[in-house]
Amino acid sequence: MSMPKKTDLIQGTLDLLILKTVANGPIHGYGIAQRILVTSKELLQVQQGSLYPALHRLERRGVLKAEWRETGNGPMAKFYSLTAAGRTCLRQEKEQWQRYAGAVAMVLES
């Protein structure tokens, strides 16, 4: 079957996207991948092979916390949400990204 054309993530942005997605409220791994796909208008495809290790890494760093919950339509799922440290981390990463993206844009448009 034919898949819509998707862009691979720029190195280092996965953590930021996860943090931003999780900031909207508790969400499970599949949901994160889906939401990134949807909100990017199907342009950003998160590789499952990277998603789960990244989730576990962020959980270990203490920026994400996880709990098991019933889902409406299926088995138990692990829901991730931001910790206080995670919110700070998100703000910093976001500022950093915006500075970076703005800088790249300035260079490209000059």
Binding site: A33, G49, P53, H56, R60
Partner: protein, 897 residues
């Protein structure tokens, strides 16, 4: 840990299952069947195992759970390859164990400080001069050794000690002590023999030794008037006083004199050097040997021409040897009876580092220990090479497995860690086993290394040494354990896996050539160790089998000390006469003789003699013997006559000389001429003897040397004697009757140091035997390790060439041809190793030569023997795989291709 591990695993499983569930639902909504949707979901998700593994690595406790897995897996690998595991563990254990033992011993004898507080403050007080100071001293007891153009001596008169001790003031505390003496001791009615040292009253307080029970000696004990007290060592208290703390305060008899036991020394104090083993300490003013000496205690201690005290000083804080030496020198000179004619050659104080105690043992065993240290290091290198070889071979065999694991999702770091864990497990096992080996080697060594007499050195394994040597072996283990992981991760991809999975014939092209070089290197090192074993064994055999000039079988010797057990001078002649007669009449005994010096005991009585009317002087070993002594060894005299009983009782000055000395002096006409002992104190007439006989030259002091011998008549009032018996039957058959006879003469007199002549001769060869035994041990170990290595390489290569061999056999090669094909390869490595080893051998040979008494290190006989041993080992190691290869079924191997 395992609970968390399981929970985390099931959570991970659930999380992935959940994701797949959603993905599959997505596809189902697009119209796929349930099965197809699941398949597509799985495909989209990718390798679930890899994702899981990467998640595990991110987890907090991952390294701990991983370690558990590594260990479990490592144990499985070890069990699967028990031979390789055992070989690696044994190599490591032997290498580390033997090294630990030798290095501990070197540390103890050569480097370690005395177990006393502030040992750096201790300094040995010697004097240096040129020869014996005849102007200043009449007699001396101690040692003199040449050093840097001077003669360094360690003996002083007691007045010199007293003067220095008082005069040196606050600079240092000086103590005096005598050389230890064997004495008869009796406690609670049980007679025994002990080593006694007499010390000045400040000895223990200066050394800062503490008592275990009671008290130690003080200056108040060291006067004529004080009651006689003694201090005993902890080991003497343990084996002779029944470990009874109440022994303190009880009486002990030392050579007929009664002392009160004042205290027991702490167990850590072994004396003034390792191997000192002094058991009883008495105050100088109650020295038992001085009391029985010809002059008595008072006359000796007040005589500043009798130099028999050894000195040691503890410098005060801030005082250096350079500051102490001039002060002592002035004090020393002030006690001389006259000023020497040549002041430049007169004795002057020479101080030497005393932190490690008296230096005799150090001087004696320095070279042998360094040689052994060098050899045992080679052994460690061989062991490490072996481990490297085994691990490389194993890694090679596992390359397919490693590739498989990487392609199944095992992280590279994780793979390295797995191999590291396996190596570490080997290291730990080897380390544990090495402690046992070290202990066994140390026990063996302790028996060889003897101090002044036959006292084994107090010897403990040093844990620091085990740690150092263990670190070397472990480092080798880790490096060579990790190498394959690095190699594997370097070139791992699917195409490589495919290549590996193919024909075995292809693999041999690129695999494991380093193994051949390892084995060649091992062979080169083994050559050196095997040659050392051959050389030292031949040396020992040559010495042992050299002809002493008499029949050494059926001779028994023991000491009797009637003079120290109640007999005074007037009763001694009758006692000795009875003893000789009674023993000669004992069934099984041909004859009995007495001597004042124990034969084959490295002499002990040396003089310089000159024939009247001649100028030439000759150094001789002297022994005073009874009329029946010489006939025990030899049935005839070369010229003249033997001693008679009348010579002994009427004591005319007669002497017998050995044949070689007579030849030097002018042949048989020496009989009847007069012989003078020269070099005695000036002003006295040198003793002269009439030569009445010439005896055949026999080894009298040791089988290693053949000095000229002067025989004098046995002085019948001497306090102790060695009895020598010629028996008609082996010793153990006759000994009970001899013991009974001695008991009948005097029930209270012990037979001391009873041995056969063969044992007595062997005792003098302990150093040679130590070398031979240890080098044989090292040589055998080196061979075993090398044979294992060679066997491993040859059988590996033979298995790689199965295809080729199968083709050869199918085309009509005979099994014999296959055997020679494989053998040639093994021999090739061995020959190359020997060729590489020869330069080292040549260098090592010159190094070993110092330890050989009278043979060349590298003579053709030894080379032939050593090379034959290596050849045999090579044939053994290569022969087995060769035979196995020759019995291959061609059809079977070709089918496997």
């Amino acid at each position: 840990m395992s609970f968390f591990w399981k929970r985390a695993e099931s959570e991970l499983q659930g999380e992935i299952a959940h994701h797949l569930h959603h993905l599959a639902g997505e596809y189902e909504r697009q119209g796929y069947t349930r099965e197809e949707a699941l398949r597509l979901a799985n495909r989209e998700f990718g390798g679930a195992t890899q994702v899981k593994e990467r998640c595990r690595e991110e987890r907090r406790w991952a390294w701990m759970t991983g370690l558990r897995q590594d260990i479990v897996f490592g144990r499985r690998m070890m069990r699967r390859n028990p031979v390789v595991t055992a070989a690696a563990v044994i190599s490591l254990a032997l290498g580390i164990g033997a090294n630990t033992a030798i290095i501990s011993l070197m540390d103890l004898v050569l480097w370690r400080d005395l177990p006393l507080p502030n040992p750096k403050q201790l300094t040995l007080v010697d004097w240096k001069g040129h020869g014996f100071p005849q102007e200043l001293a009449d007699s001396a007891s101690g040692s003199m050794r040449p050093a840097g153009g001077w003669d360094v001596a360690d003996f002083f008169s007691y007045p010199a000690f007293e003067h220095m001790r008082k005069g040196v003031g606050a600079l240092a505390s000086v103590v005096a002590f005598t050389h230890p003496d064997q004495v008869s001791v009796s406690f609670a009615g049980r007679p025994t023999v002990a080593r006694e040292r007499s010390v000045s009253g400040n000895f223990f307080s200066t050394l800062e030794v503490r008592p275990q029970y009671g008290r130690l000696l003080s200056d108040d004990d060291d006067t004529y008037a004080a009651p006689a007290v003694a201090v005993v060592s902890h080991s003497f208290w343990a084996h002779a006083l029944g470990m009874d703390p109440a022994a303190v305060g009880r009486a002990i008899t030392i050579d007929n004199h009664t002392y009160v036991i004042a205290g027991v020394l702490e167990p850590g104090f072994y004396g003034l050097s390792p191997g000192d083993a002094t058991e009883v300490y008495t105050p100088m003013h109650h020295a038992s040997f001085l009391r029985d000496g010809s002059l008595g205690v008072r006359a000796t201690l007040e005589n500043n021409r009798d130099w028999g005290m050894q000195l040691l000083a503890r410098r005060s804080r801030g005082v250096e040897d350079a500051g102490l030496q001039p002060a002592l020198d002035v004090l020393f000179r002030a006690t001389w009876t006259q000023s020497p004619k040549n002041p430049g050659a007169a004795p002057r104080i020479s101080l030497d580092e005393g932190r490690r105690g008296l230096g005799l043992l150090r001087q004696q065993f320095r070279n042998p220990l360094l040689v052994l240290g060098g050899l045992v290091t080679l052994l460690l290198v061989i062991a490490c090479v072996n481990i490297a070889n085994l691990l490389m071979a194993r890694a090679n065999a596992r390359q397919k497995e490693l590739a498989m694991r990487i392609s199944l999702g095992c992280g590279r770091v994780r793979l390295m860690r797995q191999l590291l864990t396996e190596s570490a497990m080997l290291a730990i096992l080897g380390g544990i086993a090495s402690i046992g080996i070290a202990w066994a080697t140390a026990t063996l060594l302790g028996q060889f290394l003897v101090g002044f007499e036959t006292v084994p050195i107090a010897f403990v394994l040093d844990w620091r040494t085990i740690a150092i040597v263990g670190a070397v072996g472990t480092a080798a283990l880790l490096v060579f354990g990790l190498f394959p992981a690095w190699q594997a991760s370097r070139r791992l991809d699917a195409s490589w896996l495919k290549l590996r999975a193919g024909s075995v014939g292809v693999v041999s092209r690129q695999g494991w050539n380093s193994g051949r070089w390892f084995v060649t290197f091992q062979m080169a090192l083994s050559l050196i160790l095997v040659m050392a074993a051959v050389i030292f064994t031949r040396n020992l055999v040559a010495i042992q089998s050299s002809d002493p000039g008499f029949d050494r079988r059926n001779l028994i010797l023991f000491d009797m000390r009637p003079g120290t057990s109640g007999y005074d001078k007037s009763r001694l002649p009758q006692f000795y006469f009875n003893l000789e007669q009674r023993l000669a009449a004992t069934p099984g005994v041909f004859d009995a003789g007495l001597a004042s010096m124990r034969p084959m005991n490295i002499g002990g009585w040396w003089e310089t003699v000159r024939l009247a009317g001649q100028l030439n002087r000759y150094g001789v070993s002297v022994n005073a013997v009874t009329a029946s002594y010489l006939p025990l060894y030899t049935s005839r005299m070369i010229a003249g006559r033997n001693f008679t009983r009348a010579d002994l009782t009427s004591s005319p000055s007669v002497a017998i000389i050995s044949e070689d000395l007579a030849l030097k002096m002018g042949g048989n006409n020496v009989v009847g001429r007069r012989l003078a002992i020269v070099g005695g104190p000036p002003g006295r007439k040198p003793p002269e003897y009439e030569v009445v006989g010439i005896a055949p030259a026999i080894a009298a002091t040791s089988i290693k040397e053949r000095p000229y011998v002067l025989w004098l008549p046995f002085p019948c009032d001497t306090p102790q004697a060695t009895v020598v018996l010629r028996t008609s039957q082996p010793a153990q058959m006759v000994l009970p009757a001899i013991r009974k006879a001695v008991k009948e003469i005097d029930n209270n007199l012990p037979m001391v140091d009873t041995t056969t002549m063969e044992e007595q001769i062997a005792k003098g060869l302990q150093r040679e035997r130590m070398f031979a035994t240890l080098c044989n041990g090292f040589g055998v170990l080196a061979l075993v390790l090398s044979v294992v290595g060679l066997y491993g390489v040859i059988s590996y290569r033979a298995s790689q060439r199965r295809g080729e061999i199968g083709v050869r056999l199918a085309l009509g090669a005979r099994p014999r041809d296959v055997v020679s094909l494989i053998l040639r390869e093994g021999l090739g490595m061995a020959v190359l190793g020997v060729v590489l080893g020869v330069p080292f051998l040549w260098l090592g040979g010159r190094y070993l030569q110092k330890e050989l008494t009278n043979m060349k290190a590298l003579d053709p006989g030894s080379l032939f023997l050593g090379l034959s041993v290596l050849l045999l080992a090579t044939l053994l190691a290569a022969g087995l795989p060769a035979l196995r290869a020759s019995m291959l079924d061609p059809a079977e191997t070709l089918r496997q291709e």
